[in-house]
Amino acid sequence: MITALVRPSKVDAVKSALVALDIVGMTVSEVRGFGRQKGQVERYRGNEFTVDFLQKSKIVVVLEDAKVEAAITAITEAARTGEIGDGKIFVTPVENAIRIRTGDRGETAL
């Protein structure tokens, strides 16, 4: 399973890159967090607010082991701007996968 935290503006590019690798499904959610980029300062009527948690998009893709390296490369290339705040990719093993409609298990369920 690949969990990628990317800039919200890069979600479409990452999706296209992954679809090009024949990956059939992904889940995206809006998340907030901080890393090295730290927060940003916003100003409303003279009140300064330091927004510590910045908006990122979290992309979760479960895929066969054979495709993992290619997917990492695809996401990295699609999401990179070179500036601080481009995000992170985490890779974790998945014990099983079940398709609810049919009860299929393992790789056939993906």
Binding site: E42, R43, Y44, R45, G46, N47, F49, V51
Partner: protein, 483 residues
């Protein structure tokens, strides 16, 4: 009283006679009777100039200028829209868990004050029963007698608009004024306390203020001070601003303030609200001219002042912080509108630009000062309406044009302007501002202390944390699980 010009007055006796003739003759079929009726009417008409007094009374039984009445009706609809506009303006600033409560504090008053106004509020403001310069009377309760049998009776001699449209128009002002106060005390006040506060405040503070300034009372051009207030600089903006300041002081700051302040949850709401306010303000100021023919000036000065306020606020931000903000644009426009309110029909366009710019500068400084002191006027109600209203009222004294303050409608103020010039009028305006600060400040404090004997004014810290949308109304504005 706001003004109407006699030059924009009703039709001549001849045209009135003509209209009357057509109306009566339409109901008389027999040609002989027609001739007879015509003869009688001709005799009557001939007598008209001879009995000027009673003829005038007869003429004023009908509204003789539909355009003026139409201006009031259109103005009423415009001013009504300001209250939901204000709800959006304020709602955008709060946390998402308090947005419905914040909006209800304004929106609900379209019900509460809407009813109160018809039952007794209007009467306390504009009936003459008590013969007091401070409060109206009880003769017009339930709008009794207002507008006559058909709603077309004119407000008074010399006014071409119907009394019914005037009462409606004034009711819209009564609704939005307490709504403005809510900005200082959102996110912590109990809705029950707010209900009772608005009920009492509207009757004991708003109605007397309207009487004193517009109803021929103590502050206005027929009273003792002789100050002029075109559309509510004192009655609406200083009154709501001062009440907001006092209420925020007595009710206290939010439990999360200032340690975990939050930015506005929905800036587009703020822009939407400011836009609706600006739109509605055409009615607020423009229709306060009470005469369609001459309403062009207050419509113009209103929008030019708002433009100047918006521009100046954004330019200050641009120079000072490097970026013009959307919240700043909305706030600057509202500041400009507040500033021109007391002056709208008394100044020309260049002065209106100056008023908009100076009010925006004053409010900008006030908002910065508030941000640096420990006082939780949450949405800057005093800083914009109190400060803006005061600056506007004082500038009205300095900048009012003699030609726009006719003695027919503003006898004392015109006299002050004639004898003491703008300096003299400035002094009168200053007295009016001081009086309003004292009366509204003290009155608001007394009402809140009185209410405190019967109910808590604010919700518990736990409820505050939970969010007032759920606690006060059992609703949530944005629930991600409702689709």
């Amino acid at each position: 009283m706001t003004r109407t010009l006699s030059s924009g007055g009703g039709p001549s006796a001849a045209t009135t006679f003509d209209r009357f003739r057509t109306k009566v003759l339409a109901g008389v079929q027999d040609p002989q009777l027609r001739r007879y009726a015509f003869f009688l009417m001709a005799v009557g008409a001939g007598l008209l100039p001879l009995m000027a007094g009673s003829a005038h009374a007869a003429l004023s039984k009908a509204v003789n200028d539909g355009a003026d009445t139409l201006l009031m009706l259109m103005g009423s609809a415009l001013v009504l829209l300001m209250t939901p506009g204000l709800a959006f303006f304020y709602g955008g600033f709060t946390r998402s868990k308090n947005v419905l409560n914040t909006m209800m504090m304004s929106f609900f008053l379209m019900g509460l004050i809407g009813v109160l106004w018809v039952v007794i509020g209007y009467s306390l403001a504009f009936d003459g029963g008590f013969k007091s310069p401070f409060i109206g009377g009880l003769g017009a309760m339930w709008m009794n007698g207002v507008g006559g049998e058909l709603g077309d009776a004119p407000l008074a001699d010399g006014f071409n608009l119907s009394a019914s449209s005037f009462a409606l128009f004034q009711g819209m002002f009564a609704i939005i004024t307490p709504a403005l106060i809510s900005g200082a005390i959102v996110e912590r006040v109990s809705f029950k306390a707010w209900f009772w506060f608005c009920t009492i405040w509207s009757l004991l503070i708003y109605s007397p203020m309207a009487k004193m300034v517009w109803g021929g009372g103590f502050i206005g051009p027929f009273g003792t001070i002789g100050a002029i207030d075109f559309a509510g600089g004192t009655v609406v903006h200083i009154a709501s601003g001062v009440a907001a300041l006092v209420a925020a002081a007595i009710i206290g700051e939010r439990s999360t303030w200032p340690d975990s302040k939050r930015p506005p949850h929905n800036v587009p709401f703020i822009l939407l609200g400011a836009g609706l306010l600006w739109f509605g303000w055409f009615g607020f100021n423009g229709a306060s001219m009470f005469a369609a023919k001459t309403a062009g000036f207050p419509f113009l000065t209103t929008t030019t002042s708002a433009s100047a306020g918006l521009l100046v606020w954004c330019l200050i931000e641009w120079f000072k912080d490097g970026k013009p903000t959307a919240v700043g644009a909305a706030t600057g426009a509202v500041a400009g509108l507040v500033g021109i309110t007391p002056a709208a029909g008394f100044v020309y366009m260049p002065q209106s630009l100056l008023i908009g710019a100076l009010t925006a500068i004053a409010c900008f400084i006030a908002v910065q000062v508030k941000a640096s002191i420990k006082f939780d006027d949450s949405l800057d109600t005093f800083m914009v309406h109190g400060v803006g209203g005061t600056v506007g009222a004082l500038l009205t004294g300095l900048l009012a044009a003699k030609s726009l303050v006719p003695a027919d409608y503003f006898p004392l103020s015109a006299k002050i302007l004639e004898e003491g010039g703008n300096g003299g009028l400035f002094l009168a305006q200053f007295k009016a501002v001081l009086f309003t600060f004292g009366f509204v400040g003290l009155g608001t404090a007394l009402i809140l202390w009185f209410l405190k004997l019967f109910m808590p004014l604010r919700v518990s810290v736990n409820d505050e944390e939970r969010g007032l949308d759920y606690v006060a109304h059992g609703e949530e504005a944005y629930d991600p699980m409702t689709n």
